[in-house]
């Protein structure tokens, strides 16, 4: 017993201690629980502290702690300027939404007023969009009134925000109100209405838009919806676009986007699958482009084969896309594939493309491998390579050009043109160090840039190069360039032109073209009359052609003012015989009566 009592006592004491401990634990927990229930702020703070650690940006928790109307007494204003403390747009928007969550009309108006002081226009507009969304739920008509206080061409996001809310709360009222808006607001409102559609069928959407005179807007919205649905079912989206009321040519971009995501989801076979469905589209290249780019990046050889096996309608354009993309990262392999194309024209065409991409990647390697290109593409390949080298090292490119057969004739523009853009004076110095017989051809590539730096030096340089073998003096080129930016300076240079018939005539013709473009045809005409008579024939032939091209109606109106019957007749003849290819264009500008009036100015050919 003695032995047991202590045990029993001990047992009973243990039990008692256990319950005492349990009681203390329960009291502590109860206190915590009560505190949690009745002192939520304490826990909120604690939770927020934790969240500040847990959230990865450390910004959002601040947003959730920010002042909200739910935390303040009714009617008191939260300060919109407090949002400035948030760097993150996301955090700012969450804080703003919380501020607005339970705001009433006067509070919303107060916030709107405060928002006007936001300096950044974009931030101001996005803040006001949130505020007006809330206002639209309270009173959409008043919300629109507030929105229209913002200038008409900047308020589209606000109108969109209001109608996006309104149409979900009361479709009919939103539609009715939209009818009374000015065109620009109406189109924005209608688009929001159509996008939300609220259980309306496609047909009802189109009819509604038609009532507003904006049927195309409904077609746009439906097209966008079809495209967006491609994420779920690209085939259905594809067919929906092909079967809608729009012409498929107008929907190239929609088809392109659907095909791209379709190929991303289901692979290359899709391209062959859709081939037939777009056989009626004349230029399907735009549709295929993105999908083929995606496939080429991942499997160029397979994609090339895929393109090669397409039908006549798509093969060439598909091979073009694949070759271009492939050439960006492996032109040699692409060229090898291209060399297996049977169609000679296409093979040439594709090889030409690859000269550019290979030159961009490694021009010197391209020059070493010219024989891999068809013979008639090699000149272009050399040109591309030299251009590319000229960008890094113009003198090296110039030296290479001189070493190539017929180099100056074929490649001076590729090399000197690029050198000149970088360093006109350096390029000019190099050219002037070359033998005189080479200079004329080479100077053509540099004169434009020399004119920009020093027109007088450009003119003097041009005049120093002899006129040989039927060519025109380079001063014509200089004067033409000067005329583009300063026609008066160009006119002042005309007396310097050498006494060579063609050089003189066409220097005047070039200046007259600029004058005609500036709507000063009679100044140009008087310039022509200053020329020696034998040169006038050629001048006026060109002048009337320019005038007719630039302003045929003005020419017609000026017929009577021309100084001689001969010039009147020449001008009339120019107007009447204006054609582009087979299209005789006078009737495009003049009625039959006017054409008859113009005919009266024609002199008999024997005159």
């Amino acid at each position: 017993m003695n032995e047991t009592t202590p045990k029993t006592n001990r047992h009973g004491g243990v039990t008692s201690s256990f319950f005492q401990g349990a009681l203390v634990g329960a009291v502590v927990l109860g206190t915590i629980a009560l505190a949690y229930i009745f002192l939520p702020g304490l826990f909120n703070n604690a939770t927020d502290d934790t969240s500040t650690i847990n959230t990865e940006d450390g910004l959002v928790s601040n947003a959730l702690n920010s002042t909200s109307y739910s935390d303040t007494s009714p009617g008191s204003a939260a300060d919109i300027t407090s949002l400035r403390e948030f760097k993150s747009d996301f955090a700012r928007s969450v804080a703003l939404l919380k501020m607005l969550e339970h705001s009433n009309e006067s509070q919303v108006l107060e916030l709107l007023e405060q928002s006007k002081s936001i300096a950044s226009p974009d931030r101001r507009l996005s803040t006001q969009s949130y505020i007006l969304r809330r206002f639209a739920i309270i009173d959409p008509v008043k919300a629109i009134t507030q929105a229209t206080e913002v200038v008409w061409n900047r308020r589209a996001p606000l109108v969109n925000a209001i109608f996006s809310e309104w149409v979900q709360l009361d479709f009919e009222a939103a539609v009715e109100h939209a009818r009374g808006l000015i065109d620009s607001d109406q189109r924005v409102a209608l688009e929001a209405i159509l996008k939300l559609r609220v259980d309306r069928s496609d047909q009802q959407i189109v009819e509604l838009a038609r009532e507003f005179g904006h049927e195309s807007l409904a077609l746009d919205v439906l097209e966008q919806a079809h495209v967006a649905s491609a994420m779920d079912d690209p085939e259905a989206a594809w067919n929906a676009i092909l079967n809608d009321s729009r012409t498929d040519v107008e929907q190239n971009e929609a088809l392109r986007d659907i095909l791209e995501v379709w190929v991303m989801q289901y692979g290359a076979d899709v391209v062959s699958q859709i081939e037939e469905s777009i056989s009626h589209i004349d230029h399907p290249g735009g549709i295929l482009y993105s999908a083929l780019n995606f496939l080429t990046e991942n499997a160029p050889q397979d994609t090339f084969e895929l393109a090669r096996n397409l039908g006549d309608h798509m093969r060439a354009i598909a091979l073009e896309d694949v070759t271009l993309k492939w050439g960006d990262f492996d032109p040699r392999a692409a060229l090898h594939a291209v060399s297996t194309v049977d169609d000679g024209a296409l093979r040439n065409h594709l090889s030409n493309y690859l000269t550019g991409s290979w030159a961009a990647l490694n021009p010197r390697e391209l020059l070493e491998n010219l024989t891999e290109f068809p013979e008639n593409v090699r000149r272009r390949a050399r040109g591309s390579a030299l251009s590319s080298i000229a960008r890094e090292s113009p003198q090296e490119a110039a030296q290479l050009m001189l070493e190539m057969p017929n180099g100056i004739n074929d490649y001076s523009w590729s090399v000197i043109g690029i050198w000149s853009r970088q360093d006109a004076v350096g390029a000019l110095g190099w050219i002037l160090s070359r033998p005189q017989e080479e200079q004329q051809k080479l100077l053509r590539g540099v004169l434009y840039d020399v004119v920009q730096e020093d027109p007088q030096r450009a003119l003097e340089t041009a005049l120093s190069v002899p006129i040989t073998g039927g060519s025109r003096g380079l001063e014509q080129m200089v004067i033409n360039i000067v005329a583009q930016s300063d026609v008066d300076q160009a006119i002042a240079m005309l007396p310097s032109v050498r006494d060579d018939a063609n050089t003189k005539t066409f220097s005047y013709v070039d200046v007259s073209r600029v004058l005609v473009e500036r709507n000063e045809p009679f100044r140009a005409l008087n310039l022509g009359l200053e020329l020696p008579e034998p040169l006038q024939l050629n001048f006026f032939l060109n002048f009337f052609s320019q005038w007719r091209y630039s302003d045929i109606v003005g020419m017609y109106e000026s017929l009577e003012k021309l100084p001689s019957a001969k010039l009147k007749s020449d001008a009339a003849k120019e107007i009447l015989s204006y054609r582009v290819l087979s299209d005789y264009r006078p009737h495009r500008y003049f009625s039959d009566e006017q054409l008859q009036e113009i005919e009266l100015y024609l002199l008999d050919d024997t005159d």
Binding site: S17, F18, G21, A22, L23, V24, G25, L29, D48, T55, S61, S70, S88, F90, R92, S93, V94, L100, E101, H102, N104, S120, D122, R123, Y130, R133, R134, W152, N153, Q168, L169, D183, L196, G213, H214, E215, S216, A225, A228, A230, M231, V261, R347, E375, G470, D499, D500, A501, K504, L535, V553, E557, S577, L581, S582, Y584, H587, R588, F590, S591
Partner: protein
């Protein structure tokens, strides 16, 4: 108290407290989980529970109105669809996303793809990407690639906006590092996100960023755009200001057009028409009207724009009706034809028919050929010609197959426009083009076609230049073989000579080797004369040049020397003049003299008065006196 006892008694006390604390604590945690702020445990949620992250506030149904003071909440992203307004959805979604970490938000992105309401899906995904961007923008960008291009651009834009709002420097660095891979429109998007971020960047810094993005020119254009935006605030007032200022109105056409659009948006088309008709300058008036109507065609439809153009037709703006019709026709040919057939003005109607059909021939030649029979008979000839002309460079083989249609629909002389200066030889024009295009990739096939298709037999003589252009060192012999297969008649007689002549300028030895292949007559003379001329021009050996002709039969030698004289003169005036007397006939000398004078007159102007007088002494008397005039430069 026995220490041992105390210890024994303390153990159950602690155990009891611990058990209750554990059980109660667990219960409290559960309570917190159900009612508390999810941020306190967001990092510890298992991935299965990630979608069940909850907002900190108590649940309330927002389906009636938002005007009570209860907080909105959702249990999962699926619940978003029960909220009737964007605003309420934005509120709960914002809170919902606020406490989630990257992985959790990413799970929500995947769940959002299940929304059948596409508008809801997209607006939700925009917010999700904004949140992802606030957590890890670069990683967020990598998740845009699985979306449609339009969505991808939208989500990328949202990401860059968010990223720029917190760390412009990182955005700039990222863009610079990836510049080569970023499309232009993406670079512009990023630049805008930086400029719009509200960061206090100086103009200099903004420009520097634009320069680093290779968008300096675009940046410059933004200033003008901002100026225009301000102008649009009051379009009528600015319309008057622009017309009244000292600047050239023609250089402000773009601004006037923009203001016109704004006026139409604000006040309707009639207001614009009234102001527009007051524009005194015809050029300005019509250019503004053209731009406005074409833009309206794109937005409100070409039918409406066409009707406006017809309504506003006057003596100076007829072409605007055609411009609008062209575009309408391109969009919907049938509707355009239908509308044209109802036009009251017959002259205008007929002209429009022809122009629109030719427009189709320009842009879609195959379609024009297909539709040929649906056009009025009077315009079929000109349409088929125009279509084949345009098709010839694109598809020469197809063009060759259709060439006979030109003859089939040939217009009678009366139908050729009365003001035509020169009625085009349609077969000739198309054949030239198609031969050049065909020869680019298969010169042999093109040449074979030229020599065998009877429809082009009459233009053989006019094709020498095109044939020469097609000759290369590799194909010359094969071309000569094709030429030799042709019957020996007048239309084919000198083709092999033409080819050999060209070859001589590319590969003289090869050309010389092929001389024996020349048939007797013009071809052989042409070939020999070309080779013989090279001894003069390349070797400076006029005697050898003359001697070479003696290999020909006597009957061909006279023509040889005539041609040789022409070659000499074409090469060099002084050399020819010096050796002119070596030419073995008076006719050849006269030919050389005449050619030298011709070169002087038309191109070189390199002979003195004495030399000219000397040359004239070689000319037959009648030529000396009348036909061969010496033109002096204009200042002589």
């Amino acid at each position: 108290m026995n220490i041992a006892n105390t210890k024994v008694l303390n153990v159950p006390f602690i155990a009891g407290a611990a058990l209750i604390t554990f059980l109660g604590g667990a219960g409290l945690i559960v309570l917190l989980l159900f009612t508390g702020n999810k941020e306190s445990n967001s990092e510890t949620l298992s991935s299965q529970n990630q979608s069940a992250v909850q907002s900190q506030v108590s649940s309330i149904d927002d389906s009636k109105h938002d005007d009570d003071r209860s907080e909105l909440t959702i249990d999962s992203i699926d619940d978003l669809s029960q909220f009737p307004s964007y605003f309420s959805r934005s509120v709960v979604l914002g809170k919902f996303l606020s406490g989630a970490n990257f992985q959790q938000v990413l799970s929500l992105l995947h769940e959002s793809k299940q929304f059948s309401d596409i508008a809801l899906r997209q607006s939700t995904q925009v917010e999700i990407f904004r949140r992802l961007a606030s957590l890890d923008p670069e990683l967020a960008l990598s998740h845009t690639h699985e979306f449609l291009r339009t969505q991808r651009k939208l989500y990328q834009s949202v990401i860059f906006q968010e990223w720029s709002s917190t760390d412009v420097n990182s955005v700039v660095m990222y863009t610079e590092q990836n510049l080569q891979d970023l499309e232009w429109d993406t670079r512009m998007m990023i630049l805008h996100s930086i400029l719009d971020s509200g960061s206090a960047l100086s103009e200099e810094v903004k420009r520097d960023i634009a320069r680093r993005f290779d968008l300096e020119t675009y940046f410059d254009s933004l200033g003008a755009r901002a100026r225009r935006l301000a102008m649009l605030e009051n379009p009528k007032e600015h319309w008057s200001l622009l017309l009244g200022d000292s600047l050239n109105d023609h250089e402000q056409i773009e601004d006037l057009v923009m203001l016109a659009h704004a006026m139409i948006e604000n006040n309707g088309f009639d207001d614009f028409r009234t102001l527009h008709q007051k524009l005194a300058d015809r050029h300005l008036r019509n250019e503004v009207l053209t731009e406005v109507l074409l833009a309206r065609g794109r937005t409100v439809g070409y039918e409406s724009a066409f009707n406006d153009a017809v309504l506003l037709l006057d003596d100076t703006n007829r072409s605007i009706v055609f411009d609008v019709a062209d575009r309408w026709f391109n969009q919907d040919a049938e509707a355009t034809f239908e509308a044209l057939s109802h036009l009251e003005d017959e002259g205008l109607r007929d002209d429009l028919f022809e122009t629109t059909a030719l427009y189709l021939a320009d842009w879609k030649p195959r379609r024009a050929i297909e539709l040929l029979k649906s056009f009025p008979e009077s315009i079929r000839g000109v349409v088929v010609y125009s279509a084949l002309f345009n098709l010839s460079t694109e598809d020469p083989i197809e063009t060759a197959k259709n060439l006979s249609k030109i003859t089939q629909y040939q217009e009678s002389q009366e139908e050729v426009p009365k003001y035509a200066r020169d009625a085009p030889d349609r077969i000739h024009n198309v054949a030239h083009n198609l031969f050049r295009a065909w020869a680019e990739f298969d010169a042999l096939a093109a040449f074979e076609w030229l020599l065998t298709d009877p429809i082009v037999a009459h233009i053989h003589d006019e094709m020498h230049f095109e044939i020469e252009e097609a000759v290369t060192a590799d194909n010359a012999e094969a071309l000569i073989e094709i030429a030799l297969k042709q019957p020996d008649d007048a239309s084919n007689e000198d083709f092999e000579g033409v080819i050999l002549s060209k070859l001589a300028s590319i590969d003289f030895d090869k050309a010389k080797d092929l001389l024996p292949k020349m048939r007797e007559g013009p071809a052989r003379v042409l070939g020999y004369a070309t080779i013989g001329a090279v001894f003069f021009s390349r070797d400076n050996d006029p005697e050898k040049s003359i001697e070479f002709g003696k290999q020909l039969p006597l009957s061909e030698q006279a023509e040889y020397y005539l041609q040789l004289a022409g070659h000499w003169a074409a090469h060099d005036s002084a050399e020819t003049l010096a050796n002119l007397d070596l030419l073995p006939s008076a006719e050849a000398q006269a030919r050389a003299a005449s050619a030298l004078i011709g070169w002087h007159n038309n191109w070189r102007q390199d002979l003195s008065e004495e030399q000219l007088e000397h040359l004239k002494s070689y000319l037959p008397e009648e030529a000396e006196g009348s036909n061969v005039k010496v033109i002096r430069s204009s200042t002589d």
